[in-house]
Amino acid sequence: MINIVILTLLVVIAIAIIRMKDLFAVVMLLGIYGLLSASFFVAMDAVDVAFTEAAVGAGISTLLMLVVISMTGRREITTRHKPFSALFVVAITGFLLIYGTLDMPYFGSADAPIHGHVAPRYINDSMQEIGIPNIVTSVLASYRAFDTFGEVVVIFTAGIGVLALLSVVRRPEDPEQIAVINDSMHERHLVIRIIAKILIPFILLFALYVQFHGDFGPGGGFQAGVIFAAAIILYTMLFGLSTARRVINQSLIRLVAATGVLLYGSVGLATLLSGGNFFDYNVLANDPIAGQHLGIALIELGVGCTVAVVIIIIFFNFAARREMQLNNKKQHQDKKNKESSSC
């Protein structure tokens, strides 16, 4: 029942997104869409996925889009090109898919082929073979560890790609100017600054909890990384980019991003050199279960480091680009003094 309500709401939001011209509103709705689909995942028992989708779909991607919209302008120009050919393509694909669903196993039926063959082993034997209760983590980090390695490399690639496209050489900053900006920001953001100061340590702590609790409940390296990054982003938004850059050294975090991937890979190499196959954690310790625990903990750490740092890098580069554009604009029109509005 719950799924029907949520899915209907999702369709309503999606249609509203087509109709909206104001990109800002579109992104707000996209945030709602992310939260709703995450609730759907909870209703479908996919707690780990819901965790990630909430942090990523509703959190990080909305955030990045907002930063970009603040740089590129808010309104969509209404012309749609070739709506009919688009409709045609979409209709064909849609009908093909609906045709394909007609003899699909029904939703929720336990005897569908998907629930036979491969999956039962994960459910029945993972406790003996891996020894942790969260099956998703066991599959993710051990049975299909190589997919997860690929996933880490994907996010690393995105980080490098953003660096290659957006990174700017920064001029040395004038400390006085920073102080002035800081003061004005301090006045404007007084209340949230205080609240954020209370919250940020809590968020960081929570990220650590998620990182190490991933074996027993929803969570793990990726989710922890995103939450950690979210805390840093919160700090950056309230205390300014230059302050944040002073706290978090740029070349250091690039190093951490590389180390995360290398840590993950070298767990594999270690297993390889101790005589097992790549990612065969059983050989890491005398007891296979202990080996699995060690291997999973290490690679989760690698995932966490890389994800957190890459998301921070991505955000910093977008924010720095925005700052640079604003500065350029300011130089262009000197007559307009900084007329900063507040929140």
């Binding site: 719950i2 309500v5 709401l9 939001i13 509203a16 909206m20 104001d22 800002f24 509103a25 707000m28 709705l29 945030g31 709602i32 939260l35 709703l36 995450a38 609730s39 909870v42 209703a43 028992d45 707690v47 819901a50 965790f51 909430a54 942090a55 509703a58 959190g59 909305t62 955030l63 907002l66 930063v67 919209i69 603040s70 302008g73 808010r74 949230i192 954020a196 919250l199 968020i203 929570f206 998620v210 609790h213 409940g217 929803p218 969570g219 989710q223 939450i227 979210a230 982003i233 919160l234 938004m237 309230l238 604003l326 604009k329 262009h332 007329e339 900063s340 509005s341 507040s342 929140c343």
Partner: protein, 97 residues
């Protein structure tokens, strides 16, 4: 009673969505998203009890945090001129340079 509460939350969510779609101002939408977020937190907590496995409340905590951060982000990045409310100011800054 839990189920009734879940339904009530759903109705409140629908109302928030309507406000989010209708707008009309930017701040109405932010308000709608914020309210939607808090309702989702409640929904997740309730769903845990409905489905009999309430130990996954971590997700609700994440929702609450993410919700806060995205509202801050919206406000922080809506302070460029383009997002100012008064219409006449909008026209002047709108031209692409």
């Amino acid at each position: 009673m839990i189920i009734a509460a879940t339904l009530a939350i759903f109705v409140a969510m629908i109302l928030a969505i309507i406000r989010g779609i209708a707008g009309p101002t930017l701040y109405d939408r932010i308000l709608a998203v914020n309210m939607f977020g808090t309702k989702t937190v409640l929904l997740i907590s309730l769903l845990g009890f409905v489905m009999g496995r309430p130990e996954f409340l971590d997700i609700a905590i994440v929702y609450a945090l993410i919700n806060f951060i995205s509202v801050i982000c919206v406000l922080r990045y809506s302070d460029t001129n383009e997002f100012k409310h008064t219409p006449d100011e909008k026209e002047s800054t709108d031209k692409e340079c």
